[in-house]
Amino acid sequence: MNESDPQRCGGDNKLNRLTKLIAALAILGFAILGLAPQSLAQDDGQSMFGTLTYENEEGEKVPAEGVRIFSEGIGEAVSDADGAWSIPVPGAGSFPLEIDTSTLPDGVNLKNADRAVLDVLVEAGQEKRALFGLLFGEAGSTAELTQGEGVSGRRIAQLSVEGLKQGLYLAMAAIGLSLIFGTTGLVNFAHAELVTWGMLSTFLFNAYGFAGFIGFLAPLPPPFGGGVNLIFAAIFGMICGGLMGYLLDRTIFRNLRRSGTSLIAQMVITIGMSILMRYVFVYNFGGSPRSFKDFSAQTAWSIGPVDITPKDFTAMALSIVILIMVGLLLQLTRMGKAMRAVADNRDLAESSGIDVQKVISVVWIAGGSLAALGGVFFGLDQIKWDFGFRILLLIFAAVTLGGLGTAYGALVGALIVGLVINLSTIWIDVELKNMIALLVMVLILMFRPQGILGRAERIG
């Protein structure tokens, strides 16, 4: 590898590189840190929070508004239009939390009548979710409710569509991870933060315009001082994602490769980076979930046996188009071929005149913007500072399932993961669905460690 050119690794350059690295990190942090607009961060510190929803007669999930929740001597809250409520607590400890059942909407009861008072244990700095199960109609036992509705063709169809949706969005995130692994050998734990970054930057642009990033622009007209339509915001989010990918590679990982830092050490560095980025996000964005300004409430279309909201339909169609485009670009263009060549055999690619450094840059840009777009699509449902981290293991599952380093494998793996976790809820509790994906991944690694589309090579 010509990167480990001894002259470039000389002691003189070490200080230089240190300054560069620190400068890069500072840019990374402060690009969004100091410049954040009117305190987006809201109620942090420790609190109890939750969302009250129930299923109405049609089986739709609806929020329960105006329900009073209180904690003796601590405080009280009334759930808002989304059913969300939050009570800040003074410090760590155990607090009694009670729901005022007389304020519940008509016909709605607690699933479990003896659970109107909860003992909530909050740790220092923690936001503790407290759950009151609500039910339309007479209270039954929890056991019956977790059984689900049994197997019906309609339910399988609906769950398949949900699975396809999650799989497609996951694929957007997974392809970048897989390509980066293929070209550089790096397992990037911070890839999920690129998903969150796309989601958050799109939200900020959607809600505040450029002022969401640079506070003093606020008095200007849109797009500088005011939000723009989600479609433009999403394009902006993609650009932000690509830019972040490029910057991360250019400022951090290129230097690490040059200095001959081992891949495992690089992997631990991505772990540190993921934690740093996540807490920079929550510092500026606050801990509570948000949603985009446009398309937030839509009534579902009924297509055959399946209910789907127009935004989900559009997002799924778009992601199919984009994934096909990615496939075609990889297959047909010069750059796509170069990428596959580098992934296949880096040294051979380099000696046949491919500019490996440039290919890696392009892979990071493409991976970053695809992950960001995946984040936007996921964000149609919910935007939160740690969203990416919560799906990180699903992305890993998708990538290993399909075969680390192969773009098509990531796509196939993501679709399988999406379908498996959604269809598994027919037989098992919803709470366990993510666990199923992780177990499937472990099983695949046991019996076919190279993944579905990977080539057999020594990985053990």
């Binding site: 560095i269 807490y279 929550v282 293991l393 890993f396 020594r458």
Partner: protein
Amino acid sequence: MDWGQILTQIFSQGFGTQAVVFALAGIGLNIHFGYTGLLNFGQVGFMAAGAYGVGMAVFWLEWNFWFGILLGIAYCLGLALLLGVPTLRLRADYLGITTIAASEAIRLFVRWRGNRERTGASEGINDFADPFYANNIFTRPGSQSYKFLFFEYRADDLWVMLIGWTVVALCVLVTWQLMRSPWGRVLKAIREDEDAVRALGKNALSYKLQALALGGVIGGLGGMLQVIDKQSVQPDTFNPVITFMIWTVIIVGGVGRVWSPVIGAIIFWALISGLEVFLRELLQTGAGDEFEQFLNLNVSNVSQVKFMAFGLGLMLLMRFRPQGIFGSREEMALDDR
């Protein structure tokens, strides 16, 4: 600014229960990674296994608390077998992904509502460790706390710390002796070159499994101590970020050195909590308003700065001094295998 308060906090956190817990988990992880070269990203899973062993024995099986400790150890051994047999053959990065996935699977499983009778689901298990405190030698009639110079400790905390640091000392001693033994040399040989060890006729898989089990049990002891201290087992305290903190702890001290997890844990918690209390004090001075205005820093998000510093610290440490304070770069098992 109250420097006395800051120093007191640094000292008491650096030697407090959190540091003991991380030292124990770190000793375990050091056996995995530092001596054997296993890239275990799921150490928190072993902590959870130990913690839930004690908790479930009391809560579900209604056993004696002290048998619960045995159950916790049994869980850790079981987990090591379950995890090790299929995955120890895999390459390092695959092993890392698998172990982190396994630890998350454990967390999701114990917080599943179907396990309410066994693990307490998302509410966890509370107030189960009374027999531990019944033997507290520091309990005395009249006063609940002890004062030394600037420090004030509750009798129960002193008891946890005494037992904790004793267990740490024992584990350090055991590790030290084991790693000098022929068995320990085989582990180090596996770290350096597994194929060579195989060629010498050693069963590398069996050795790796033993190392995984030993380190897992020590990690499990850490988990037990943590929940005994809080008198509460909460599923969400066993999240992957804890694993990464333990990694930072052993890297600070120096991977593959007997004392490194202990020193690392003390330094880690002293720095992390020192930073937080320093920032809190800073906010109370006259400059507090400026910090709020320009950096958005206020009392409620100070604890997030702590995590940013932790992430940044891990990155810089790994880049510029991967061998930590005491380690040697040559022995650092970071090759790609």
